[in-house]
Amino acid sequence: MDPRPAHPRVTRLAAILASAAFVAAACSPAATTTPSTVGLPGNTGEANTPPPGTFGLPSFTPAALRWYCCLGTGEDPSQQPVEKKVAADLSTVFPGSSLSFEVVTYSSARDTLATEIRGGNGPDIVGPNGIGGLAAFQGQWLDLAPYIQKSNYDLSQFDPAAVNFYKSPTEGEIGIPFDAYPSMTWYKKGLFSEIGLQEPPHKYGQQYQMPDGSMVDWNYDTVKKIAMLLTVDKNGKDATQAGFDPSHIVQWGFEPQRDDLRGLGAYWGAGNLTGPDGKTVVIPDAWKAAWKFFYDGMWTSHFIMTGQNFADAKINPNGYPFFAGKVAMSENFLWTTYGVADAGTDWDLAAIPSYNGKVTAPLNADTFAILKSTKNPDAAFAALTYILGDASDQLLQAYGGMPARPAKQDSFFQTLGQTTGFPAQVDWQVAKDSVQFADNPNFEAPMPKYNETLKILNTYLSKWTTTPGLDMDSEITKLQQEIQATWNS
């Protein structure tokens, strides 16, 4: 028997419903989890208000939270299992709550986060964030001060300077110290010994013994002299010898931290681009000197890689050429421990050179922050205390970050020293000592039109690293004018 034909109205109704369902499905946002409204206390929050002087979270509604990474470190495949485990374990600490870990690579993390926030789909917790990552989203962070106060969170366990690092005049307390990355000179002992050079000094203030036996200050003039001796072409000639072939260099003497022109300058002196009035671009003289040194090192004295060499995956396969063993000395932050094992087992740490008699060792610091758009600020703050507290040891080891809690630093370096592939003896004391020379103000401090300014700086960085024969004075003036025009717009 033939099936009974459907009534035309039924067919139409079905078609309307199908269309409506199709459109609704297409238009609806991704499935979201709604936290239950069961008022479970936090892990220590049996009482609604903790007794005076003791930490305790006020009761909060458990929630499904999202942790967004990586405006700072955190994307490396070796770090992600730890981060995922920390996220998964939150539900055991705070029953009913959950934390989903979302990793977006650093290069696109800012754009993606901006899109999510603007789309009303922002995460709850964001981190680890560098100072620059926080500055890139000025106005988006939750002021933690009321939550710190309500829970009696103990900030005295941190260096007051570290606490102040995250105090914003406009946004309040946007972070709690988590870790710090002092910078040092990383050097390959073998490359020094093979040409009979003394190793760089490990202690700040110590002098350096030149090949002729003279003792000189450990400053950038000295660095240049020995870096040229350590720069070698394919014929084995160093950069001081006649017949040196700069187009076929196989080993470079020195590598500055070139991720950001501000950071590159900060090794020569602390500062930032914002003048006293907050509107005028002022380039610190030390930065100008650093940039000229950098340019000369690439194109005239040849002891620093050009942009072409730096971008060549065969010379620099993993982000920083020191890792490939092609550079004798490199200034960089502690977070480079993530890849430094590739450099072999003959590297060690030395002091940052001085400029004009003063040492500046720029500092990177990371923390976790909560977006003010979060729908669950109490649950998010509870999760933040867990990340910065119980889970912090695991994360700090994964990130290679020196704990912001001074009490934990020795054990951190002890564990870090046992990393597979690291030399048996590394002078981690240099890292601890470098903190005293941290740049203040920090080079990543907020400035007007933060992201636009970064782009201009990066364009000039790219130009200088790929173009020989530039007049650096004129370039620096142009850079200043271009940034000023952007700030004025």
Binding site: D111, A114, E452, K455, T459, K463, T466, T467
Partner: protein, 325 residues
């Protein structure tokens, strides 16, 4: 026979009146039902178009007169033409437009001529294995573009395959394709040529549509290969060439993906890949200036529309349409 001007003008009016009369006639129940069902079936598309194309377009136009940013630190307000005034004085807008135009000057002729020439070759009766050749030329087009760009990146690095080959044939200092602001555009053209499969297919279809009688007539008239190309093939292919030109202009003004993937959107080297559309994207998502980004988007739309209209005006009398009266 010449017609009176009044008579020629009257004809369309008569037709229009007839049409109007026909359309004002009441529809039969069957026609109405069919119309309703037709509308019902296309309603998902209509809703999608209204919600995801038309409404956002209108909204972005409204945004250009507001001060929307991601942080929205100042209250939302009407700013009139401020965003347009700012755009006119923004050197990054003009720099990025300059970058786009420089690349377009190199890329547009290439994107029109190369597929045409390859299609001519593939259409030749003397070519053996034309089917395989067509497949091979089209193959890159179906490879995901991002993957293709990454492969090209490896080929074009300073010691990549291309420079290794150039070294082998005696070029001592081959170009630094990806790191020299002067050589980056030829490199981008190479990458673009890799994906011209669709252009070849379109040209090939056009060539196949040219009546063979025209070639026979040209041969009888004693035309050689060049004369045949100039007087038969190119005129007959002019609609296809014009079509690829229009699409090419639109594509090049929206050029975005390759610099984003190849240089991570940094504009390297030295800002030479900071294309207009990349600047627009960054204004929205990196600089988080939604209203200003919308202004840049509308400016791009205006430029595209203007260039396209100019091309249509210039094409009058130069493009041959066989069906045109």
């Amino acid at each position: 026979m010449n017609q009176l001007p009044g008579a020629t003008a009257a004809l369309p009016r008569v037709r229009l009146r007839r049409l109007l009369r026909r359309s004002s006639r009441p529809m039969s129940p069957l026609a109405r039902r069919e119309a309703r069902q037709g509308l019902l079936f296309i309603s998902p598309w209509i809703v999608g178009f209204l919600a995801f194309t038309l409404f956002p377009m209108v909204a972005t136009l409204a945004f250009t007169f507001l001060n929307i940013t991601l942080a929205q630190e100042t209250p939302l307000r009407f700013v009139g033409l401020d965003n347009y005034v700012r755009m006119l004085g923004d050197q990054h807008v003009w720099q990025s437009l300059g970058v786009t135009i420089r690349f377009a000057i190199l890329w547009l002729p290439t994107s029109i001529i190369v597929p045409f020439v390859v299609a001519l070759g593939l259409n030749s009766k003397y070519l053996r294995g034309a089917g395989i050749m067509r497949t091979l030329f089209f193959l890159p087009y179906v490879v995901p573009f991002v993957a293709g760009v990454l492969v090209w990146e490896q080929m074009l690095t300073d010691d990549g395959w291309i420079n290794t080959f150039l070294n082998l044939i005696g070029v001592a200092n081959p170009p630094s394709w990806l790191f020299d602001a002067g050589w980056i555009y030829p490199a981008l053209v190479f990458i673009g040529i890799w994906g011209i499969g669709a252009g070849i297919v379109i040209n090939l279809a056009g060539l196949r549509g040219i009546p063979t009688e025209l070639y026979e007539a040209a041969r009888i008239d004693g035309a050689g290969a060049w004369a045949t190309l100039r007087n038969v093939t190119i005129p007959m292919m002019s609609p296809i060439i014009f079509y690829t030109l229009i699409l090419g202009v639109v594509d090049v003004l929206q050029y975005f993906l390759v610099p984003l993937v190849l240089k991570n959107g940094t504009g390297e080297p030295a800002g030479s890949t900071n294309f207009y559309n990349l600047n627009l994207y960054q204004t929205f998502f990196t600089f988080q200036e939604m209203s200003y980004g919308a202004t840049l988007a509308w400016f791009l739309f205006a430029i595209t529309l203007f260039v396209t209209l100019v091309l249509f005006v210039l094409a009058r009398g130069r493009v041959f349409y066989a069906g045109e009266r």
